[in-house]
């Protein structure tokens, strides 16, 4: 009897760790940023286990009966957690993170109840010292077994959903086994037998259809049909299409919609470049989708465009996928364009080239590492690469949603020695968006644009440089490397806007 229970501890421990790993791996897969996901999921799970252990003091009555009930509950809940979460994410039902942590907390709490209950059951037969040493030793062994199996066998061959379901079945198996072992202590337990049968059937059925579910579910993740999916070392790249609307998502964040990207990219490039008829050499930092390059190539006098983007997967995709090269006019394959896959700051430090026009299109300053790319230090570095009379344009987040952040970027460019001309444009997919034009001299406005623009007009350009009252300049400090005020502001403002 004792050995049977210890064997079940081994299985329980395996299952407990498996649910945790499945949840963490699923969260990293869906949300990206695996370190954060693993860290927070495991933290929440361990906390919930603590809650479960503490709650175990309130579990009374027939302990064996309670134990079997809990095993079945853990089995079904833990087993289906991955499937349920995946479907919820795909179908965009409710706030995903809330569901994720609720399920982690629920499963963790139940798992936390298990070991204390087993110990109380075994207490009747074994001395405490022995009990603790044996139960915990077997507990650790079970955890070790799964921690080795999960990355080597389970995750790659079974997948997350099937792994979850399989361990659910094992958990219910422990319940069935306990039903058999303790049948003498469990009179009138027809309900338990029925529940066990139903749990087994449910999980087995789940296992049978899991393959189909996971095959179709990822395409639900996006409202539209997914036409490309890829994970690079830097990000998860997903391209979707619905009729003529093609969208790019990086780590689930929308980068462009083909319906209105022309507004964003025309506004990014032309107000600066159209005023520089002598511009020959252009530098683009970020912007691996090639749209900014497409706009730049409208000018016949351009001799060279250097695109520096971190992720080779991005530039490869936008240089080869037919649908996407059609969108960016095959810009990345133009003979005047050189694609460099490098970290922008390193490339700037190591190169001495000077440019007439520089497009800076980095992700928003949402953490300290990205915040450095919007600092006086970075802009001074950039200034060393600006030819006489040259201009820089910086995408500068939304002056409407993140007003103080936007004007901080303007103040930062000014503190780095630039004269600026801030402007904005409405891009329906993003909302009101902000840019900053900068140069050693005050940037002037263009008097003509290239043929074929759909958004900008010479007559309308002055309006872009006027800010309505709710986006007007605020007195803010520049973003210095030793303070990084921008990251703190950006966090406050977008956090506030999301609420």
């Amino acid at each position: 009897m004792q050995h049977a229970l210890l064997a079940s501890v081994f299985i329980i421990a395996s299952c407990g760790l498996a649910y945790e790993l499945v949840a963490a791996a699923l969260a990293s897969y869906l949300l990206g940023d695996s370190v954060t996901q693993f860290s927070t999921i495991i933290g929440a799970y361990l906390f919930a286990m603590g809650v479960g252990s503490w709650l175990s003091r309130y579990v009374g009555g027939n302990l064996v009966r309670r134990f079997i009930q809990i095993e079945m509950l853990v089995g079904v809940l833990g087993g289906f957690a991955a499937v349920g979460l995946f479907l919820a994410f795909a179908a965009q039902m409710g706030p995903f993170r809330v569901l994720l942590y609720l399920s982690v907390l629920a499963v963790g709490t139940l798992v936390g109840l298990e070991i204390p209950l087993v110990m109380r059951i075994l207490k009747r037969e074994v001395a405490f010292k022995e009990l603790v040493s044996r139960v915990l030793a077997v507990d650790y062994l079970g955890a070790l077994a799964v921690s080795v199996l999960f990355p080597l066998l389970l995750a790659p061959y079974l997948g997350l959903m099937r792994t979850g379901l399989l361990f659910g079945l094992l958990n219910v198996g422990v319940a069935v086994w306990a039903l058999y072992l303790f049948r003498a202590q469990l009179p009138r337990s027809r309900d338990l037998y029925l529940a066990a049968g139903a749990s087994v059937a449910l999980l087995a059925g789940g296992l049978a259809v899991a393959g189909q579910v996971s095959d179709t579910a990822e395409s639900w993740l996006y409202a539209d049909e997914v036409i490309h999916m890829e994970s690079s070392p830097y990000q998860r790249i997903v391209v979707t299409r619905w009729r003529d609307d093609i969208r790019l998502f990086l780590n689930q964040n929308l980068q462009f919609s083909s319906r209105d990207e022309y507004r964003y990219h025309e506004a990014l490039v032309h107000p600066g470049l159209a005023a520089l008829p002598g511009a020959r050499r252009i530098l683009v930092l970020g912007g691996g989708d090639g749209f900014a390059v497409r706009e730049i190539l409208r000018y016949p006098q351009i001799q060279s465009v250097t695109l520096v983007d971190l992720d080779p997967a991005m530039t490869r995709l936008f240089a080869t996928a037919p649908l996407l090269t059609q969108l960016n006019g095959n810009a990345l394959n133009d003979s005047r364009v050189t694609v460099v896959n490098a970290d922008a700051a390193i490339w700037l430090e190591e190169n001495g080239e000077a440019f007439d026009f520089v497009v800076v299109d980095f992700p928003d300053p949402s953490n300290f590492a990205l915040g450095k790319l919007y600092s006086t230090g970075f802009y001074r570095l950039l200034a060393r690469h600006l030819a006489p009379g040259g201009r820089i344009v910086v995408q500068a987040t939304s002056p409407y949603y993140a007003r103080r952040s936007y004007w901080t970027i303007v103040a930062t460019l000014e503190a780095a020695g630039f004269r600026t001309a801030p402007y904005h444009a409405l891009v329906p997919s993003f909302g009101e968006w902000g840019y900053v034009l900068a140069g050693r001299e005050a940037p002037g406005l263009p008097t003509a644009y290239p043929e074929g623009l759909r958004f900008l007009t010479v007559a309308g350009t002055a309006d872009l440089f006027r800010f309505p009252a709710d986006m007007e300049r605020l007195p803010v400090e520049p973003n210095r490397l030793n303070e990084q005020s921008l990251v703190r502001l950006f966090e406050q403002e977008w956090h506030g806007a999301a609420r």
């Binding site: 860290s39 390193i346 450095k372 600092s375 210095r480 030793n482 990084q484």
Partner: protein, 539 residues
């Protein structure tokens, strides 16, 4: 409890460690000074000099004091000098190491923005191009690349990283009030002084201790705190951390005057929003060493141990053992600047006057251990403030670690890095601690360091690919009560004939500003005596 830790560790390592096993130690080396050579110095069993090298000025020791002296001589256009260093590389406490990932410090890792009175430091920084514009401005402008980037410091306590090093989360009733009162007292001390200077100036030579503040040098910081009614455990932890950090010495032993000086001594600020941010670089203060040593081709000789020093007939005879050549050399110098630790001088100079030897004798030095942890990736973020430059664990035997790649500007997610972990052996008698530092194998230290950091970073073992342990046997002079004794310090400042003393030991506080001051002062004295007026006086 243990189950939780196990599960947590197993998962957090993103599964990799589980396959590898968790207890094996990363490879690495036990490094540090040439202790065998250092210890031979006093024994005199070196062969007679095989070659005589005449030189006008000889500087012994290429730490910050020696390098500053050389810098000052060169600044005045004086080039007839040589600089001898016992170790294989210059820099002393500011030495650094290179790695494929990033240069990293082996000791001192930052320089506070210098006070207005630290003229020599300011002139040096201006010369190196880091201080821009007027070096004597109240708040000069500094090169942003060297100002420590934000987030600068964080403290791990109660499972959360708090921003800054002063504990402010989870304080008990009354602690916050005591913190406020303590810092108000320090602000008062900071403002203390008269028209000739501040009471707690830095360099110490400019300080004007009066009778009431001099009394602070008769008790320990701990006793002063007790007498002043400060009993907050968080405040006590923080002040002990500060004393161990700046002096390598427990606050139960540090002179209250020195402990207060840590807070009241520094007034340096930078313009353009720099505030009181410190100056740093991937290699800590090693960048200053590198830049100064680059200017000394042919003059800086490393691996040369001075084992004999005699003055006669208007010359100083300095015998040095060349580790590389396996022979002794004799330098015949008109003037010597002794910029090595003072305790070595009586060992190599039998003629040393007894009163000078007696002024040196009370000095004792704290041993330090500095570990370089090479990581495949930064440790997982944890709760609270993200990875900062300086990361400290509450109630740790160490002082936390600094991140060598912190000053980089990168778009890519953070990759491999080097953490420099600091631990002064401050809890025991320095002699015993030094013996323990020499006798303990690397594995023991590595295990202790990984366990310590493991409290905050469960993934540290799996991430660490290499762990080198660097030992500083006599890292820092310990400012014990009585260290301020004016007569003793004046005796040291007078030097010994043609041998001028220049080392942070002269102040009893192992600070960059002190080493720099004494080095520059010795060079200026020498230049003045050689005739001619100095164009400028920096010390």
């Amino acid at each position: 409890m243990r189950r939780r830790e196990f599960l947590g560790a197993a998962g957090a390592l993103a599964l990799a460690a589980c396959a590898k096993g968790t207890r094996s130690l990363p490879p690495g080396e036990l490094q540090g000074g040439n202790f065998a050579l250092g210890h031979r110095l006093g024994q005199g069993d070196f062969p007679a000099a095989a070659e005589i090298r005449p030189v006008e000025v000889l500087i012994v020791g290429a730490g910050i004091a020696g390098l500053s002296a050389a810098w000052r001589l060169q600044r005045a256009g004086f080039e007839d000098f040589a600089l001898l260093e016992l170790e294989a590389s210059p820099g002393g406490n500011s030495r650094y190491a290179r790695s494929p990932v990033c240069a990293h410090p082996l000791g001192a890792h930052y320089l506070p923005l210098p006070n207005p009175e630290a003229r020599a430091v300011r002139a040096l920084l201006a010369d190196l191009g880091v201080l821009k514009g007027d070096p004597w401005a109240l708040k000069p402008e500094y090169d942003e690349a060297y100002l420590c980037h934000s987030p600068q410091e964080r403290l791990y306590r109660f499972g959360v990283w708090q921003e800054g090093l002063v504990p402010h989360l989870g304080l008990a009733a009354g602690e916050r009030e005591q913190m406020a009162r303590f810092f108000a007292r320090m602000a008062d001390f900071k403002a203390l002084g008269d028209s000739r200077g501040r009471t707690f100036a830095l360099p110490l030579a400019y300080a004007r201790p009066d009778a009431s503040t001099a009394a602070l040098d008769r008790l320990t910081l701990f006793d002063w705190l007790k007498a002043e009614g400060f009993d907050s455990p968080s405040l006590h932890w923080y002040l002990n951390y500060a004393c161990r950090d700046d002096y390598g010495t427990d606050y139960r032993q540090v002179s209250a005057w020195a402990g207060i000086h840590y807070f009241a001594g520094r007034t340096g600020e930078g313009g353009l929003g720099a505030g009181d941010t410190v100056l740093t670089a991937p290699e800590g203060n090693g960048w200053i060493v590198r830049r100064l040593a680059e200017r000394l081709p042919g003059r800086l000789h490393t691996g040369l141990a001075v084992h004999g020093l005699r003055q006669e007939e208007g010359r100083v005879h300095v015998d040095a053992w060349s580790e590389n050549e396996g022979r002794s050399l004799r330098y015949q110098a008109r003037q010597v600047i002794w910029a090595a630790p003072l305790f070595l001088l009586p060992r190599v100079a039998p003629q040393l006057p007894p009163d000078l030897a007696a002024a040196i004798a009370p000095l004792s030095h704290a041993p330090w251990l500095v570990a370089s942890l090479h990581l495949a990736a930064p440790p997982e973020a944890g709760a609270g403030t993200p990875l900062a430059w300086d990361n400290v664990l509450y109630d740790s035997p160490g002082l936390g670690y600094v991140v060598a790649t912190h000053q980089q500007i990168r778009r890519a997610p953070p990759g491999p890095t080097v953490l420099t972990y600091y631990r002064p052996l401050s809890g025991e008698d320095p002699r015993l601690a030094r013996q323990r530092l020499l006798d303990t194998p690397r594995e023991i230290w590595a295990e202790a360091i990984l366990s310590d950091l493991g409290r905050a970073h469960r993934d540290i073992r799996s991430l660490t690919t290499r762990l080198d342990v660097f030992r500083h046997g006599h890292a820092m002079a310990r400012p014990l009560p009585g260290f301020l004794d004016g007569a003793r310090r004046a005796r040291l400042a007078r030097g010994w004939g043609r041998v001028r003393l220049a080392h942070a030991d002269m102040s009893g506080m192992s600070l960059f500003e002190e080493a720099n001051y004494w080095g520059v002062r010795a060079a200026e004295q020498l230049l003045r005596e050689a005739g001619g007026r100095l164009a400028e006086r920096l010390a």
